[in-house]
Amino acid sequence: MNYMLITNNPLVIEKQAVLLSNNSSNDKQGDNWQVCQEFNDIWELFSEVRSLLQQDWKLLTHPLPANGGLIGSPFRSLILAYQKAENAGYRTQKLLDEAEERWRKKYQAPTEINNADKVKAYQKLDLWALESSLKELKIFEQLGGA
């Protein structure tokens, strides 16, 4: 299975090797991780996800966080899988639209946040949510070629 971690979070980028090696199954063949991390801002990240959804990639993680504290976060890490011939893209496309709309209203660019602690907090909370997602996917054996 081909997976993609798409992120603009410097903390996730720094820890990606550990994150992905801890969350891949060695005894199943064929897992292939790509990391997409070259974004100037979250809008470019959304644009890339939108494009991938048109190319038979499917979102495995929900594009929205679970509360208002994070809706304005400038950092996001999402996981996608390549699953041709599935019609799962349409629904996640709608959710992505909604996520983008909500970010548009609340978004703060890192340069606009005049508090380094807040930037770090956003990065950590995004990292922890990603770790939780990877763990969920591993439990469900969605990672590891299932």
Binding site: L64, K120, A121, W128
Partner: protein, 428 residues
């Protein structure tokens, strides 16, 4: 399973030498409580302050709120799996110090939680302006990670509530409420022919600082589970959620879950209350499918005619809420959804991040983005500067006259999705 919750009314709290209750006054031994709480080596210091209803006091940023209680007739006096050994709760007698609360504070993470105003406009929006609060402000040891800090403060708050609750151990309660929901096969004529109603309670379970604990077990590690409502009322559920003030369900709100209490009120009158299913709100679509399928599968197996579903948080949990609704409605089981709205400052944006045409009975507990102006406080417990970072606040929240402007997002419990809050809807 029969639970009696005896209410010991508390009118005020006073810090002093000895912990005891006299004529509605809860005296707290500052030294004894400090010693107990600082046994946890992750915590370096604790400051104790009393905030009373009507005081021009603002508490910020709040971590959790807990009702002080003591469990009698059970060797587990604390929170099973968290501050005490494992075992089942929900039967016997528990005494609750009504009118009192433990409020934990301290900067854990920059975008943490929210505020409680004890007076004025802000007090209208949070139920914790009406309790006499023992506010515990913790300073952690150096180099403690945010999630370790959160865990230490979470446990310390529970320990403090348990410690205060023990002051009532030998008291006669002012009032006793009995919650008796027998096993399905032991129910008699009183429920015959009545609609069978279950409660599906969704819990934040999204990673560090976004977690809930069932008997100490991280909810995201569990399958949805049936649980007796008495267990929830008696301390089986603990909040580990730290980043969403308005609609996070504090431990206090779990202990006083309004939906459970209302279902109890109507059990045997116009419905047959089947119990509660707890389900985690996970981050992945596969996780959401698993949780929704299992939770609704349990409810179908229970033979429910109708279900009340409450959400925690908003954003991606809206997808769980609607999926649960769809899976039940498609099987002919009626649903009522309870959620708050993220509808923009003007209230005109789409309220939920996900929708379904089968969701026809939806109760709104308020718009998280509604703006409020709060008067200057005479006393701030905590750090008012944190308002600039937390959800619903910003650097522009501070007015020249000392008042603040923020969204309901920033006020603890203001849009609680289990209904333990002050907002209501009126037609106009």
């Amino acid at each position: 399973m029969k639970l009696e919750i005896g209410e010991v009314q508390i009118e005020d709290i006073k810090l002093g030498e000895q912990t005891k209750i006299e004529d509605g006054l809860l005296h707290v031994s500052r030294a004894e409580l400090r010693k107990l709480l600082l046994e946890d080596k992750r915590l370096a210091a604790v400051e104790m302050t009393v905030a009373r209803p009507g005081d021009k006091t603002r508490i910020i940023p709040v971590k959790d709120v807990i009702e002080p209680r003591v469990r009698l007739d059970n060797e587990i006096t604390g929170y099973p799996g968290v501050t005490d050994k494992m075992g089942r709760v929900g039967a016997g007698r528990t005494l609750a110090l009504k009118g009192a609360a433990v409020v934990t504070t301290g900067d854990i993470v920059a975008i943490q939680e929210g505020l409680i105003d004890m007076w004025g406009e802000g007090a209208k929006y949070t139920p914790f302006s009406q309790t006499c609060n023992l506010v515990l402000t913790f300073t952690p040891r150096r180099n403690l990670e945010a999630h370790q800090h959160e865990e230490a403060v979470r446990e310390a708050g529970l320990k403090a509530a348990e410690y205060l609750g023990k002051a009532a151990e030998n008291m006669e309660p002012d009032n006793i409420n009995t919650y008796d929901l027998p096993a399905m096969n032991k129910r008699g004529e009183e429920v015959e022919g009545l609609p069978r109603v279950a409660y599906l309670k969704m819990l934040i379970a999204q990673g560090l600082l976004h977690d809930s604990y069932i008997y100490g077990i991280d909810a995201k590690e569990t399958l949805p589970t049936w649980i007796h409502p008495n267990e929830i009322l008696d301390g089986a559920l603990v909040s580990g959620n730290c980043v969403a003030a308005c609609d996070k369900i504090t431990t206090y709100q779990h202990q006083n879950n309004s939906i459970i209490l209302d279902l109890y009120d109507r059990h045997g009158k116009d419905l047959n209350f089947l119990g509660v299913v707890l389900t985690p709100e996970l981050t992945t679509f596969t996780g959401k499918v698993r949780a929704c399928e299992h939770a609704t599968g349990l409810i179908k197996t229970m033979g429910a005619d109708g279900v009340i579903i409450s959400e925690e948080g908003y954003g991606n949990p809206d997808s769980d809420l609607l999926q649960n609704c769809k899976l039940l409605e498609e099987d002919g089981i009626k649903t009522v959804l309870i959620t708050d709205e993220c509808a923009g400052n003007d209230g005109f944006s789409q309220s939920l991040a996900d929708t379904s045409s089968v969701a026809k009975a939806v109760i709104s507990t308020g718009n998280v983005s509604h703006m409020v102006k709060l008067d200057p406080a005479e006393r701030v417990i905590g750090n008012i500067g944190s308002l600039a970072n937390l959800a619903g606040g910003s650097g522009d929240s501070f007015c020249d006259d000392g008042s603040i402007v923020c969204e309901l997002n920033a006020i603890i419990g203001s849009t609680s999705e289990i209904g333990y809050h002050n907002l209501t809807a009126r037609q106009y």
